[in-house]
């Protein structure tokens, strides 16, 4: 007699298996709290600081709300409804859009850039935070781009890898302290800012590095925040798959991600404007003095480790699942270690990467805004919420989602079209704006064009070929 399978709810939680009713642990409030914990993180301070580069406090508040509400409203509809309904891991479910080989390309390209980029930025932030502590406590003189920062960044990577390799459950334990600690840090920074400065001081503070045209500055600030909203695309679907109702899958994104991210970014915006630096690691000691500042920096370092592990865990899991037979035999320690190698290389260039964070953000929007458009139109309009669950797990040519040799070219052409529209309106590298960018941004038209292209190509090419199970 065959032994019973050793699977539990945890297997579904850490893999691609569809979750069953009894494994869905997230109600409306639970999902909201998880999203709040995710959104209020050190990256929110970075985003607020980047917004302060181009606009002042008043324009910054509006830009943060406008960018986030548009990005989150489209992104949430594009991934959280489908994963919430089917309970299937996000990148496995997305085989219905891109095909099994297509999703491997997408994960290997987009997600690797996203995960490696964010991990590099957070590890350099860790390096600068710990260097600040050493300078204060140990009387060292480590500059913000010195080798010392790189070495501490590599230490962050090593700790993250060990945590990932030996047991991500340690991170769950750490997050019990880090989650509430982030909220305390947020309100602590706000308290310290307003105990040193008045609202009119902050409101009248000039942006840190604006362009000449005020309208372009405002739209660039909106664009950074659109990027932040759309940038949740690879993260949230794998959380909403554990929700108990469609309502609990959707609305906590507005309460949790949107509202909490706005709060965290506003803290970053005000701190950057009042202290004249967009770098959160440069705020703590001037704001809180030696003891409070060092404690805050140590906490920022710890929070960044948990964030790196969270990002990498999701990315490695997605790579292993999307890779199917190619990656499933690869030891977990080797896969995670191999993906950390480019992060280590990037850590040797702290100034170029960390201080150009906003450019990385704009590049990610070039990918995620079209992705949100394509996945939303595919699930909600073209499929009307119907997906053949057996076939998303099927690599064979008999799967509805095999498309052409495992790739759906319509979805990729739509992504490319959206990306070109983005690039035509806004160059993420030089931040040069073109044409109607100052009125319509780049992410919104990129998302809409990609959605429209996917709809037209699917109706005119994929459906007549009787592929894709539409």
């Amino acid at each position: 007699m065959a032994s019973p399978p050793k699977f539990t709810g945890a297997s579904a939680a850490f893999g691609t298996l569809p979750v069953l009713k009894e494994e869905r642990e997230l109600g409306f409030l639970d999902h909201s709290w998880i999203n709040i914990g995710l959104a209020i993180a050190t990256w929110a301070f970075l985003l607020g600081g980047s917004t302060a580069l181009v606009v002042g406090a008043r324009d910054g508040i509006y830009a943060i709300i406008i960018g986030n509400v548009i990005g989150v409203s489209i992104m949430a509809v594009s991934v959280c409804i489908s994963t919430g309904k089917f309970g299937i891991e996000q990148f496995t479910l997305m085989r219905s859009v891109f095909g099994p080989i297509g999703i491997l390309i997408l994960v290997g390209f987009f997600l690797a850039i996203y995960g490696v980029g964010w991990s590099a930025i957070l590890s350099i932030m860790f390096g600068r935070a710990i260097s600040g502590v050493m300078n204060q406590v140990g009387s060292t003189h480590i500059g913000e781009n010195d080798l010392g920062v790189t070495l501490f960044a590599i230490l962050a990577i090593a700790i993250s890898w060990l945590l990932l390799w030996k047991g991500p459950t340690a991170v769950k334990w750490l997050n019990r302290f880090v989650g509430p600690g982030k909220l305390i840090l947020c309100f602590g920074i706000l308290f310290l800012i307003f105990s040193h400065k008045s609202w009119s001081d902050i409101a009248n503070a000039a942006p840190l590095a604006p362009f000449d045209d005020k309208r372009i500055n405002f739209m660039i600030a909106v664009e950074f925040n659109l990027a932040a909203g759309f940038g949740w695309w690879p993260v949230l679907g794998n959380i909403s798959r554990f929700t108990r109702t469609p309502r609990a899958a959707l609305w906590p994104n507005l309460i949790g991600i949107f509202a909490a991210a706005v709060l965290g970014e506003l803290v970053g915006l005000f701190a950057a404007l009042s202290l004249g630096s967009h770098d959160p690691t440069a705020w703590m000691i001037p704001l809180g003095g030696a003891f409070v500042g060092v404690t805050a920096l140590l906490f920022v370092g710890l929070a960044n480790i948990t964030a790196i592990v969270s990002i990498f865990y999701g990315m490695c899991l997605a790579m292993r699942q999307a890779g199917g037979r190619y990656f499933e035999g690869l030891p977990w320690g080797l896969l995670t270690g191999a993906l950390f190698v480019p992060v280590i290389v990037i850590a040797f260039f702290p100034g170029q990467i960390y201080d150009n964070f906003f450019k990385f953000l704009a590049w990610t929007a070039l990918g995620f805004a079209p992705l949100s458009g394509v996945t939303a139109v595919d699930y909600l309009i073209l499929r009307r919420g119907r997906i053949k669950q057996c076939d998303v797990f099927n690599d064979g040519a008999d799967s509805d989602y095999a498309f052409w040799r495992g790739i759906n070219p319509a979805a990729f052409l739509a992504l490319a079209g959206g990306g070109l529209v983005y690039y035509g309106l806004f160059d993420p590298q030089s931040l040069a704006a073109h044409g109607p960018f100052i009125w319509i941004s780049a992410s919104v038209p990129a998302c809409l064009v990609a959605a429209l292209l996917h709809y037209v190509l699917t109706k005119s090419v994929v459906m007549p070929a009787k592929l894709g199970g539409y």
Partner: protein
């Protein structure tokens, strides 16, 4: 994990098949699997559009 993986008769595939057959049972009742209504999506976009409109109006008013 995929159905056509190198070892197709593995434990993981058996568990996947077990879960898929549970889900496929017409008597299986999971509220999360209900379709979200068009009305709910409409309200979602109405709320986010309201936040957007009010913010833009305040920005224009402030400038």
């Amino acid at each position: 994990m995929t159905i056509a993986s190198t070892s197709p008769d593995n434990e993981m595939r058996r568990e996947l098949n077990r879960r898929l057959s549970i889900i496929a049972d017409p008597k299986y009742d999971d509220p999360a699997r209900a379709d979200i209504s068009g009305r709910e999506i409409g309200i979602w976009f109405a709320v986010t559009l309201a936040i957007l409109t009010i913010t833009i109006a305040m920005w224009i008013g402030g400038n």
